[in-house]
């Protein structure tokens, strides 16, 4: 299994987890009720532990905003000598694991800088975002690129990051009619969220710029540029730098 590189966290004890079945081959582990930094840290800590200690029959795990979902193979986790349900056995394993995680979160994380060429043909909606919020274009770029964002999870599309922490001054409603095709690398704002289209896809976000970086490369040993738990900062670049394929 391919593994994300998580920052090291030590010395923190997790409270009891809440388990529920996700179909007949998954367990959803709930670690909090709301999307916040504290719950996120628990999610990353538990994901990291699972990656380092996969148990026989575990297929993979998927971190979410407040959950970690563990997929398992009921056949492998079935023992004909007892009548324990594979789901119950998996929960028991995960419960035991939860007691072994005790460490303090050191404030280490990976900061990934993402160069963005704002406006022009790469960011056709930059002006909309500025007007909507009573800001100048320069102010939008400055606010957007001085914030440090948190990658809560990756999903929706290969390599697509769910980023937290956008400044409310940039909040802009989604377009009333979504575009049929948004180029890969487009940086957009939708409501209170900002994000990057990791592959070409339809979408309704206001597009303010584009990065020359590839967020997802199929077949690479690490196919996704970002992982849950990373931090992201956008850096404004010129069109010429974009054409040169500005790297981190």
């Amino acid at each position: 299994m391919w593994q994300c590189r998580y920052s090291k966290m030590e010395g923190k004890t997790l409270p009891r987890y809440e388990f529920s079945p996700l179909g007949d081959s998954g367990v959803m582990v709930k670690l909090g009720e709301v999307i916040d930094q504290q719950t996120h840290e628990k999610v990353i800590l538990f994901s990291e532990y699972l990656q380092e200690h996969p148990f026989p029959g575990m297929i993979e795990s998927v971190p979410g905003f407040t959950t970690v979902t563990v997929y398992y193979d009921p056949i492998t986790l079935f023992d004909p000598l007892d009548d324990i349900l594979p789901y119950d056995r998996t929960v028991a394993i995960l419960e035991q694991m939860s007691q072994q995680i005790s460490s303090t979160h050191s404030k280490e994380y990976r900061l990934v800088e993402i160069p963005v060429c704002y406006g022009g043909s790469f960011g056709p909606d930059l002006e909309v975002v500025a007007k909507q919020n009573g800001l100048s274009i320069e102010e939008v770029i400055s606010i957007h690129s001085t914030t440090e964002y948190l990658v809560y999870m990756i999903g929706f599309a290969p390599g697509f990051p769910y980023l937290g922490g956008m400044d409310e001054r940039l909040a802009t409603p989604r377009r009333s009619s979504p575009r049929l095709s948004i180029p890969m690398g487009s940086v957009g704002i939708g409501g209170l969220q900002t994000g990057i289209y990791s592959i070409e896809s339809p979408g309704g976000w206001q597009i303010i710029g584009r990065t020359p970086l590839r967020l997802f490369q199929a077949g690479e040993s690490s196919p996704s540029l970002l992982c849950a738990g990373d931090k992201v900062r956008f850096r404004p670049i010129s069109e010429r730098e974009y054409d040169n394929g500005e790297k981190v």
Partner: protein, 335 residues
Amino acid sequence: MSIEVITPGLCTTVQDTGRFGFQQVGVSVSGGMDRQAVQIANMLVGNQQTDAVLELTMRGPSLLFHKDMLIAICGGDFKVTINDRSVLPNRAVWIRSGSILKFGLAKEGCRAYLAVAGGWDVPLVMGSRSTNLRGGFGGFAGRMLAAGDKLVQSPPGSFSQFLANQLEKKAGAAPFYQANWFIPSSTSVKNGEVVVRVIQGEQFADFSEKSRQSFFEQTYQVSPQSDRMGYRLTGPALELTQSMELISAAVTIGTIQVPPNGQPIILMADRQTIGGYPKIGYVPTIDLPIVAQLRPGEKIHFQEISLRDAQKELIERDSWMKAIKLGIEVTVGWR
């Protein structure tokens, strides 16, 4: 080169049993929709269950063979011919170089699988040979097959060769020979109405009593907007007792999610990794092949199953599959 695509069919892709380990970076599992048919087709030609097969949808392709090969066809019942003579599914077939294998329209079911001894030789991308259509990677160049494409077979194992030699001898001068033994199709692919079992989902209790009743008492119809990503159903609208904003989290194959319009969607092989709609239930793994074979217009009647029974049946099916594998080996005199 092993075979050449003359006509590609409606949606013919290379699939295996799925791409695992990358859902945490948003990569769908993909893989054959009817995984049981994939596994049985592979067994019939002596492959590993995880080897790559072709998945055909509704209208199959025509394929020209440039090599003698051992093949098997499982899943939906398509009109299949070799050089215009009928071929039966669910058995090993030896086919001579120069022959044309032609799939017509599906008579029953929606998807069929073509396995070749050794499996289809396409690059392994992130641990799987499945096509990810949305991402454009895996399988054959990340896309559906097109006319003129040429596919290659991986080297067959010793059991596959043993079986192929046996059937080749029996073929004599004929262009093909099909084994006189077969695996009875496990999922009955019947057009009309099917029963699909459901494990209660996390938000089951949040739906109104009337909705919960309709869900199990009324029938739902498969909409034409159904694909490898999900089956959209139409029927009595399912309503929550109060609107809820759920936090997006992982979704699995078989998840029945209910968007605000109340019309359920069963998530399938190419589903997104994360979803945010309320989940009324999950189709257990054991019944997914039934859903995979449904076509637009056909009806589903949902019936409840406990998680315990769903897992028990899955374990029983695994024993049955192991018995089939052994049975094939004994029948042809390998053991």
